[in-house]
């Protein structure tokens, strides 16, 4: 477990995840107080990544539950393996008739079977889904509940019991208590407001797009062979693009993709032709591309004006 906030920062840093003090504080509190952390923020700022990195940093197993509309208990918690149960009954037919041999009436036969039904509703036939797996895990683990806002309101209500008591009741077996309280990370894209009851049980963390310095740091860490000049230009352009009114604002992961693409093409600095060709890795909607295009032109024009010389030498690297 983490000893202090700085411990979190260095631990995450070792996993190549740059976090600011705010993120680190919340993670530290979450792990120390054993409270779930609800992470919100725009798409692609590293919410899911936070869960993964937390697991890696602590050397724990990561159990992930992806939420979607219509997700129910059977998919999230546990399911009886009907097929296996039926198969066992078929195979054990003889044994069952042995048991039934002594009985005279139907009533007695039913009682005989009833005495044995613990066999069929036991752990053996219980198929644990992510939530149950996290609770029953032998070693402490990180439970990542991804995109909780995509699930239905009913599932959210059901999750409340699990998150507050860390136990669940299976009618046929009884209550199963968590062996270790898992570290829970919930992520949400805010497509739906979470209920207050759920929020009350969680620590809240809002991750926003990084400022230019931090973004630079991230790029250098994730794409080590990027040129310093290119990184700087990309970050400056990105910060400008994010101010536009786009349908989907380019996120960190998209930035990284773009930088990787540019490094692969052996680009040292941005120019119009090149950026236009690769813009689709960054911006994903037709209307957005048009807007980004305008901004790009303005940016390049400014850049040229600053340098005061026409950029004829820019094309050199393209062959």
């Amino acid at each position: 477990m983490f000893q202090s906030v700085n411990d979190v920062i260095s631990g995450f840093g070792a996993q190549k995840y740059i976090c600011n003090k705010n993120v680190a504080t919340v993670v530290y509190l979450g792990t120390s107080l054993q409270k779930p952390i609800l992470v919100e923020g725009p798409a692609g700022v590293g919410k899911t990544e936070l869960g993964k990195v937390l697991a890696d940093a602590l050397g724990m197993q990561l159990i992930r539950l992806q939420c979607y509309e219509g997700l129910d208990e059977a998919k999230a918690l546990y399911e009886w393996e009907y097929a296996k149960q039926l198969l066992y009954t078929q195979i054990l037919k003889e044994k069952i008739s042995d048991i039934l041999q002594g009985s005279q009436t139907l009533q007695e036969a039913v009682d005989c079977i009833a005495n044995q039904d613990g066999v069929f509703f036991s752990d053996r036939f219980l198929l644990p889904r992510p939530l149950l797996r996290a609770l029953l895990s032998e070693r402490p683990c990180v439970l990542l509940i991804d995109e909780i806002d995509k699930s239905d309101a009913e599932f959210e209500a059901f999750l409340l019991e699990v998150l507050s008591d860390f136990q669940i009741s299976v009618p046929e077996i009884g209550t199963l208590k968590a062996r270790h309280i898992p570290l829970v990370i919930l992520t949400s894209n805010n497509s739906r407001e979470m209920s207050d009851a759920l929020k009350r049980r969680c620590l809240h963390l809002y991750i926003d797009f990084p400022d230019s310095e931090r973004e630079m740091e991230i790029i250098k860490l994730k794409v080590p062979n990027v040129g310093a000049r290119l990184a700087e230009e990309v970050v400056r352009l990105l910060q400008r693009l994010r101010k536009l009114d786009l349908k989907k604002i380019p996120s960190i992961s998209e930035t990284l993709d773009w930088v990787r693409a540019l490094t692969l093409l052996n680009v040292k600095q941005l120019d119009q032709e090149l950026v236009e060709e690769t813009l689709s890795t960054l911006v994903k909607y037709e209307a957005d591309i048009r807007k980004a295009h305008h901004e790009l032109k303005a940016y390049l024009a400014e850049k040229q004006a600053q340098r005061g010389v026409p950029g004829s030498s820019d094309k050199d690297h393209l062959h």
Binding site: Y28, G41, Q90
Partner: protein, 468 residues
């Protein structure tokens, strides 16, 4: 510290951020863990434990600044300013303060608390005294609150006049003691400055406090009243709040839909499919198959009147329409005054504010003509009637005031016969339907549902009608 935190939580609550007792306790437990020495850490801790909504983060930051940094920051600034004005280095300044302090201890007992704190430059003490006075002030709502300004009342509470006279006396004493020239002048000026700054500080603190209490008060009773207020009387401010309500309404529509779809997915036991699926197990039903009812994708066509007489109402209706279009895949939206124009594309391409404003501004149809329902209906029949089929819900929003033009109610009859349902929402009171140029009595017989829709509450009810 505990008291301060609890007070802070109640300040947050007053400003519309919901903080529960459990969250407050979390904050305490978290602070036990991280301590309160590091300001940034303290701030992050409070934020993650007390604030659970991304939209509340900004108000929290502001309130945090007012609450925890307010007076302290102001005092810092004052110190710096005085130092500059007297042309002293921080060391010299400190020296002067030490000297003063020695004198003050000699005078023990004669001075009031505030004067002593002021002369000692004891920031914590000044802050505490100011805050205590404020607290008392806020707790006892004065009956003569209108006669005196908050400043006057606070000044009386802090006995500022006494402090003033004490300082004067102190100055007199200094002169009697006969300190040497320049130093004395400096000290005297310092004391004057201090007194003036105390006044200024007091004003600032009061202002902060008022902002703290008054900053966007989200009064629940006020909002409830708004839900019943007729669209026609909305002010700009109401409109802004109503946008939120419409967003919630759309959310509610969505939630209802998701529940309905889920129920539909459960379905009934399907013998044929089950047998077929389990042939490989010799007919033993390993896999149960249910017959899933088909998801019916509702097709909606909305006609919204945007003439001047219903301007405020149509603004919300258009937002409502926009939300509907967001929700269902097959929605076609039209607006009309005298001419009918389609806005489906416009709504798809733009965000809600721009789209609605563009539609109202007259980008699509001329908004300055007189409304003519008959003509709009006729155009709808001519151009779009072929798109209506048995699954279509046609939603008409308007007051039915036709300016004595031809009503063309036969169009509605055609629609009624062909469409799944025809719904009319009227922003006018039902009492006035049929009075003057209102053609409602003519139109209503062809509608499956015709409802008055004057307020957000009525709209809620209608949503329940449309999405059973």
């Amino acid at each position: 510290m505990e008291d301060r935190l609890i007070e802070f939580a109640s300040v947050l609550r007053r400003n519309g951020i919901r903080v529960s007792l459990a969250e407050n306790m979390d904050a305490f437990r978290a602070l036990e863990l991280v301590g309160i020495a590091d300001p940034a850490l303290f701030r992050h801790t409070l934020r993650s434990t007390l604030v659970k909504r991304a939209s509340d983060v900004k108000p929290f930051e502001e309130l945090f600044d007012y609450f925890f940094l307010g007076i302290g920051q102001a005092l810092d600034a004052i110190d710096r300013r005085i130092m500059e004005e007297l042309g002293l280095s921080p060391e010299q300044f400190q020296q002067m303060l030490d000297q003063l302090q020695r004198l003050v201890t000699q005078m023990e007992g004669e001075l009031s608390q505030l004067t002593r704190a002021l002369l000692n430059n004891n920031r914590g003490e000044i802050e505490r005294l100011l805050r205590d006075a404020l607290q008392q002030e806020m707790e006892q709502s004065m009956p003569d609150g209108f006669r005196y300004t908050p400043y006057t009342r606070m000044a009386a509470r802090l006995q500022l006049d006494r402090v003033q006279s004490e300082i004067e006396r102190f100055k007199g004493m200094l002169q009697m003691l006969g300190e040497n020239g320049e130093d004395l002048q400096n000290v005297l000026r310092y004391l004057d400055e201090r007194m003036r700054d105390l006044n200024r500080l007091l004003r600032e603190v009061i202002q902060q406090e008022q902002r703290k209490r008054g900053l966007d008060p989200k009064d629940s009773s006020q909002r409830a009243a708004l839900a019943d207020k007729s669209f026609a009387y909305y002010t700009e401010d109401d409109i802004r709040q109503m946008n939120e309500a419409v967003a919630r309404l759309a959310q509610r529509l969505k939630n209802r839909l998701s529940v309905r779809r889920k129920k539909a997915a459960r379905g009934r036991f399907d013998i044929k499919k089950t047998l077929r699926a389990n042939l490989q197990y010799g007919g033993v039903p390993f896999h149960i198959r249910l017959d899933r009812r088909k998801k019916t994708k509702p097709q909606v066509m909305v006609l919204c009147d945007i003439s001047d007489s219903v301007l405020n109402a149509s603004r919300f209706m258009l937002q409502f329409v926009y939300s509907i279009q967001d929700l269902y895949s097959k929605v076609r939206s039209f607006v009309f005054v005298a001419e009918l124009g389609e806005v489906t594309q416009l709504f798809e391409a733009n965000d809600i504010q721009t789209a609605v404003e563009a539609a109202l501004k007259g980008d699509v149809v001329d908004v300055f003509s007189h409304s003519n329902f008959g003509r709009a209906f006729e155009q709808f029949y001519k151009n779009f009637f072929s798109a209506v089929n048995g699954k279509t819900t046609v939603l008409i929003i308007g007051d039915g005031r036709n300016n004595y033009n031809r009503p063309n109610d036969w169009v509605l009859r055609e629609i009624q016969q062909k469409a799944k349902q025809l719904i009319w929402l009227n922003p006018e009171s039902r009492m006035t339907w049929g009075i003057g140029d209102s053609e409602m009595p003519r139109y209503v017989p062809y509608c499956h549902i015709a409802e008055e829709c004057r307020s957000i509450n009525q709209l809620y009810k209608i949503v329940d009608l449309i999405v059973p």
